[in-house]
């Protein structure tokens, strides 16, 4: 796991004006810019200045009638992060892509391409759709139960990761004497025939720079934990205290071990929604007066020093490998994270001062795997 480096992992969710439903009404919110190309770029660059591991672009198909007092519109996460990639150098870019209504072949090549355009910084956050509203946007099948949707997500992850391996790294040979551009023995059908679909392969897109793009998942229900333990390199758990964080992490690692994986292959990060700053209480009171947050959603409210202490405690206890911050309001709570929390974590010796690893996978201490289809060492 990531803590073997002695450093915690820290990512941030970039979604609309922030995770508080009234975020867009805050005086600091950049409401007119939410759908402009530069908005997400500026936020990602700020996160990169803070040496964060990665940003997550949230995404989902819409369900429920839109509320005029909420920001319910979104831009496709893969495309939004592709737009960010050339404008950043080091930060990881994790795109949320749902599996219930999207073709696995498209998911695989789109995420692989995000990895190509970012030089190995991509991640895929697997998510599902379970509502009738989402099903009606496609009109192909009825809504799935969470158990079915996650079973299908698991199958999708299987297909997507196989397709990433379907081109061996050295498939392109440009062999002039025989006139062959590619060694077709290094391009592999996956011949997947599952419960939900079948996919022939190989991919049309060469193997991504990371070999296998980092897979992330919200391990927030037993169905999700089952998929996270099987497929995730990064699992996000919700917790209100360190004991909950530890038990959430243990649940994911148990499934990983039961799936025959090294439990250290999955880094577990606790999700923290946060209002950060000396004026956090007052800002939060103003936000809560404008919109009621969903039941059970915990919101950290405090100074950068307080948040850094909490993170250091949870991390040093061994409960989790790091944190996924959801800023209540953008960019103000991201700024507080980068300018206040990060320096405190660096001073405590638990967070990096500079980027060293080139790829997201390396940043998590994971080796680049060989393709599962590779025939060892026999060049023809």
């Amino acid at each position: 796991m990531g803590s073997s480096t002695g450093l915690l992992h820290l990512g941030v969710v970039l979604d609309g004006a922030g995770c508080h439903p009234a975020a867009w009404r805050a005086p600091e919110a950049e409401r007119p810019r939410l759908f402009e190309p530069g908005y997400l770029v500026d936020l990602a660059r700020q996160a990169e200045r803070g040496r964060l591991d990665f940003v997550v672009a949230d995404d989902a198909f819409p369900s429920g009638d839109p509320r005029p007092d909420r920001v319910t519109a979104r831009l496709d996460a893969v495309l939004a992060l592709a737009r960010v990639a050339p404008a950043t150098e080091s930060i990881g870019l994790i795109a949320t892509v749902t599996t219930t209504h999207t073709e696995p072949f498209h998911v695989s090549k789109n995420i692989a391409t995000l990895d190509h355009v970012s030089g190995g910084r991509a991640g895929w956050r697997v998510a599902v759709s379970t509502t009738d509203d989402e099903a009606r946007l496609f009109g192909r099948k009825p809504a799935a139960t969470p158990a079915e949707a996650y079973a299908e997500a698991s199958e999708t992850a299987d297909v997507v990761t196989r397709l990433w391996d379907s081109w061996e790294d050295d498939a392109v040979i440009r062999d002039q004497p025989t006139g062959r551009y590619v060694d077709r023995d290094k391009l592999h059908s996956i011949d997947f025939d599952g419960r939900f679909f079948s996919v022939r392969g190989p991919s049309i897109t060469p193997r991504p720079p990371q070999g296998q793009v980092m897979v992330a998942l919200d391990a927030t229900s037993s169905d999700a934990v089952a998929v996270a333990g099987r497929w995730a390199n990064i699992a996000f758990v919700s917790a209100t205290n360190v004991a909950e964080a530890a038990s959430g992490a243990a649940a994911v690692r148990d499934v990983a071990a039961a799936s025959g994986r090294d439990p250290g292959d999955v880094a577990v990060l606790a999700v923290i929604d946060a209002v950060i700053g000396a004026d956090a209480d007052a800002r939060r009171a103003r936000l809560d007066a404008l919109a009621v947050r969903p039941d059970g959603d915990v919101l950290f409210t405090g100074t950068p020093g307080e948040l850094a202490s909490l993170m250091e405690d949870w991390f040093r206890s061994g409960a989790v490998d790091g944190f996924l911050l959801r800023p209540a309001v953008l960019p103000v709570d991201l700024t507080a994270l980068v300018e206040g929390v990060v320096p405190a974590l660096q001073a405590a010796g638990v967070f990096r001062r500079s980027y060293e690893a080139a790829t997201l996978r390396e940043r998590f201490g994971r080796p680049r795997p060989a393709s599962r289809y590779a025939t060892t060492g026999t060049a023809s």
Binding site: P37, P66, P68, A82, V117, P206
Partner: protein, 461 residues
């Protein structure tokens, strides 16, 4: 009748996954690295091109039951590449080919709206259709589409996307923090579509994008494809790049516009063309001949022949004569799969090729070079500029989409040596006049919530 000089439109085709793209040349770079896309797109933008274009192929091509290994292969996802290119370009249009068979309207409309936002109004969509069960094996939906239904589905797909893009009025996002209204409820409509191909309903979740809709491109050459373009497309691609062929195609397609209440300028006709430049005419011809030999390798020549003959011809000498035996005609499944082909009778093709090879004393490879050479412009920069201008002014085209044979430097010479001459002639823009692709193409932004034009009668033949 004298009339205003027509402005020329130019587009850049990223080198394709086929034998037009030469990989054996020392100057050939990666077909899939992002840096290759960046160089070509930025070169085209330096040349003030209208747009940069990516083709599509959703399954690796096969030949005689195995993956075809003689041509370049590999494609990143088009939309993702274009969104990344939006970060390193400012003005050039960004066009993706996306299939209407293996995608769904809600998802695709949402992706194109995102690309248009992320590029500040530079997105374009080349809608293609595929009834191809071979490609369908990569998709959960499989190869479900009857060939006769493909334009029907394409049209229903496009019109459904427009309904989604129109469901947000311009200015719907008011972001009134005081009143607590982000999107005005009066300006966002629920959509509902129930047709033969799609039955969907709900709320679209992307505000109307800078161009309203992405620029619509269509590439079909059949009657159905031409009719679809006349009804709905802003740009049509064609292979009719020669002057005479171009004029016939141009007259035919432009002649269909009035039926849909559209003006001649509403649809730009842009044939695909290759360009080979030389310091002298003889130099250019020599380079063109060299490139054609690179494009048709000895092994590639045999593979082309096998497509017509329908069987293994690997025992034949590419520098020798054509086979004496006739093609197999009862083979059933095509020997080559995943490649765009024109359906023709193999016996007739073989007879024609034998005649040509006999008359001109051509070897197999020489014959294949002869019959596969694509339309294009060969000559000095001045000759190429004058010819392109003449073709456009004489209504053989509204411009050309150039297909370079080399990645990533295949457009450098055209941009450096021909574009300035076109600009000197006053036939091509000296600089971009507006920020969006619609501005480059002289197309109006579709007004929001306009009822979509309906077709006069029935479906497409």
């Amino acid at each position: 009748v004298s009339r205003a000089r027509k402005p020329i439109h130019l587009a850049a085709h990223f080198p394709g996954v086929n034998n037009t793209t030469v990989w054996s040349d020392p100057a050939s770079g990666s077909q899939t690295d992002f840096t290759s896309f960046v160089h070509l797109a930025q070169t085209a933008e330096r040349g003030k091109f209208d747009f940069f274009f990516l083709a599509e192929g959703l399954r690796l091509r096969e030949h005689r039951g195995r993956i075809f290994d003689l041509d370049v292969v590999g494609r990143p996802d088009s939309l993702t590449v274009l969104a990344a290119l939006a970060a390193v370009t400012d003005r050039i249009g960004l066009a993706a080919t996306l299939n209407t068979t293996f995608n769904e309207p809600f998802e695709l409309a949402r992706q194109f709206a995102a690309l248009d936002h992320l590029s500040a109004g530079r997105a374009a969509w080349n809608a293609v259709t595929s009834p191809d069960a071979f490609t369908g094996e990569n998709f959960r939906r499989g190869g479900f589409l009857d060939r006769t239904k493909r334009y029907e589905r394409a049209e229903e797909f496009i019109l459904t996307c427009r309904q989604l893009w129109d469901s947000w009025a311009d200015g719907a996002v008011v972001a009134d923090a005081e009143a607590g209204v982000f999107a005005s409820p009066d300006a966002v409509r629920r959509f509902e579509h129930h047709g033969d191909q799609f039955s969907i309903s709900g709320w679209f979740d992307v505000p109307r994008s800078p161009q309203g809709y992405p620029v619509q491109i269509q590439a079909g050459d059949s009657d159905g494809g031409r009719e679809l373009a006349a009804a709905h497309a802003d740009v049509i691609f064609t292979r009719h790049a020669s002057r005479a062929d171009g004029q016939a195609f141009y007259a035919d397609v432009k002649g269909r516009l009035a039926r849909y209440g559209r003006r001649l300028d509403d649809l730009k006709i842009i044939p695909a063309a290759t360009v080979v430049i030389g310091d002298t005419a003889a130099d250019a011809e020599e380079r063109a001949d060299h490139i054609r030999h690179q494009q048709v390798s000895p092994q590639g020549a045999i593979a082309f022949l096998e497509q017509v003959w329908g069987r293994d011809l690997s025992g034949y000498d590419p520098d020798g004569p054509l086979p004496d035996a006739d093609p197999d005609v009862d083979g059933g499944i095509s020997i080559t799969r995943g490649r765009v082909r024109h359906e023709q009778d193999p016996l007739a093709v073989a007879a024609k090729w034998r005649q040509l090879a006999g008359d001109r004393h051509l070897s197999i490879r020489e014959l294949i070079i002869e019959v596969t050479t694509r339309s294009g412009f060969v000559g000095t920069p001045a000759h190429v500029a004058a010819t392109i201008d003449d073709h456009v002014q004489s209504d053989a085209a509204d411009g050309y989409i150039l297909v370079p044979h080399l990645t990533p430097h295949g457009l450098d010479e055209f941009v450096d040596r021909v574009v300035p001459l076109l600009q000197e002639r006053g036939a091509f823009r000296a600089d971009y006049e507006g920020p969006t692709l619609r501005d480059h193409l002289g197309l109006a932004r579709p007004p929001a919530a306009t009822p979509v034009r309906s077709r006069p009668t029935g479906g497409v033949p």
